[in-house]
């Protein structure tokens, strides 16, 4: 085990881009998330049920997309316990076909910094196949 380096407020500037990441999402990920989160809604693992309610195929849990995307922030900060606020709108479902699954592309940018509180706000852009799947996705981190 090793102690991680936590980003300091003085190291952060407005407009700064965070390292981007592509995150694969397969049916196996959906089943794992269903079990770990307790959200066992059938539309996340059975395509017949998903199609019966008008979806093109099985879709990812919005909360899985939200939970996976914030890793861009936590890895950049170096301490996952520093995220004090995190919110989003679910604008478009992430369709996860049996073959190949889906890929989330996550980018982040520091939009505001507050020297008083030493808090920084990161705006995340999360797309799947070029479509924006999360809207107004923002995380606030508390730094030292």
């Amino acid at each position: 085990m090793s102690q991680q380096t936590v980003r300091q407020f003085s190291q952060v500037s407005e407009g700064e881009s965070l390292p981007e990441r592509s995150i694969p999402v397969t049916r196996a990920h959906l089943v794992h998330y269903a079990g770990a989160s307790g959200d066992r809604n059938v539309i996340h693992w059975d395509e017949r049920t998903a199609q019966a309610v008008g979806l093109p195929d099985v879709i990812a849990h919005g909360m899985l997309t939200m939970g996976a995307a914030v890793q861009v922030v936590t890895d950049w900060v170096g301490d996952a316990g520093r995220v004090i606020d995190y919110g989003t709108r679910f604008t478009k479902p992430v369709v996860v076909p049996h073959d190949g699954g889906a890929v989330l592309d996550v980018a982040g940018k520091v939009t505001t910094t507050d020297p008083e509180s030493k808090q920084a706000t990161v705006e995340l852009t999360v797309t799947c196949g070029g479509d924006k799947v999360l809207g107004r996705c923002r995380a606030v981190v508390q730094l030292d």
């Binding site: 085990m1 090793s2 102690q3 991680q4 936590v6 995150i23 990920h29 794992h32 998330y33 079990g35 770990a36 989160s37 307790g38 959200d39 309610v53 919005g62 909360m63 899985l64 939200m66 939970g67 996976a68 914030v70 890793q71 936590t74 890895d75 301490d79 996952a80 316990g81 995220v83 004090i84 606020d85 995190y86 919110g87 989003t88 709108r89 679910f90 995380a139």
Partner: protein
């Protein structure tokens, strides 16, 4: 079936305790791809200043949705779950959730409003610990699609 607007403004008693376990944190972290050692390694979490394993930022959805279920699963509330879509979600962390926490949720139905043939319900779960201290606020908006 439509959402019963009489529930707007309603508040509930605290839920029964939800015990946060280490293996649950590890499993949830793995499911969302969270590799920070503070989710997995107790020594790393303690070295970083935490009492025990730290839950990932969206772990609060679990006690949050258990709290929300008091409304969503209440037949009198009139929520047809087959028509529910998650619209928005926000977590405000008053402190990180750690293994060993005994959490309860206090549910408030902040808003029920009509929007373009649908109904939008905003549920606020105030997550508190065994000492009644605030841990997290989960703000969840669901969209209940109107009938065709």
């Amino acid at each position: 079936m439509a959402v019963n607007e009489d529930f707007q403004g309603r508040s509930y008693d605290p839920t029964t305790p939800f015990d946060v376990g280490r293996e649950h944190i590890r499993d949830f972290a793995a499911a969302v791809g969270a590799t920070d050692p503070i989710h997995h390694d107790v020594e790393a979490a303690r070295a970083a200043g935490y009492a025990d394993l730290v839950a990932p930022p969206t772990f609060a959805v679990i006690p949050g949705q258990r709290t929300d279920a008091q409304f969503v699963a209440d037949p009198d509330a009139g929520v047809d779950y087959t028509r529910v879509v998650h619209g928005e979600q926000r977590f405000t962390h008053h402190r990180p959730i750690v293994a060993g926490d005994e959490l309860r949720g206090v549910l408030h139905i902040d808003a029920i409003r009509a929007a373009g043939g649908h109904q939008m319900v905003t549920m606020r779960s105030e997550i508190i610990d065994a000492q009644d201290q605030p841990v997290a606020t989960s703000l969840s908006t669901i969209v209940v699609r109107g009938g065709e």
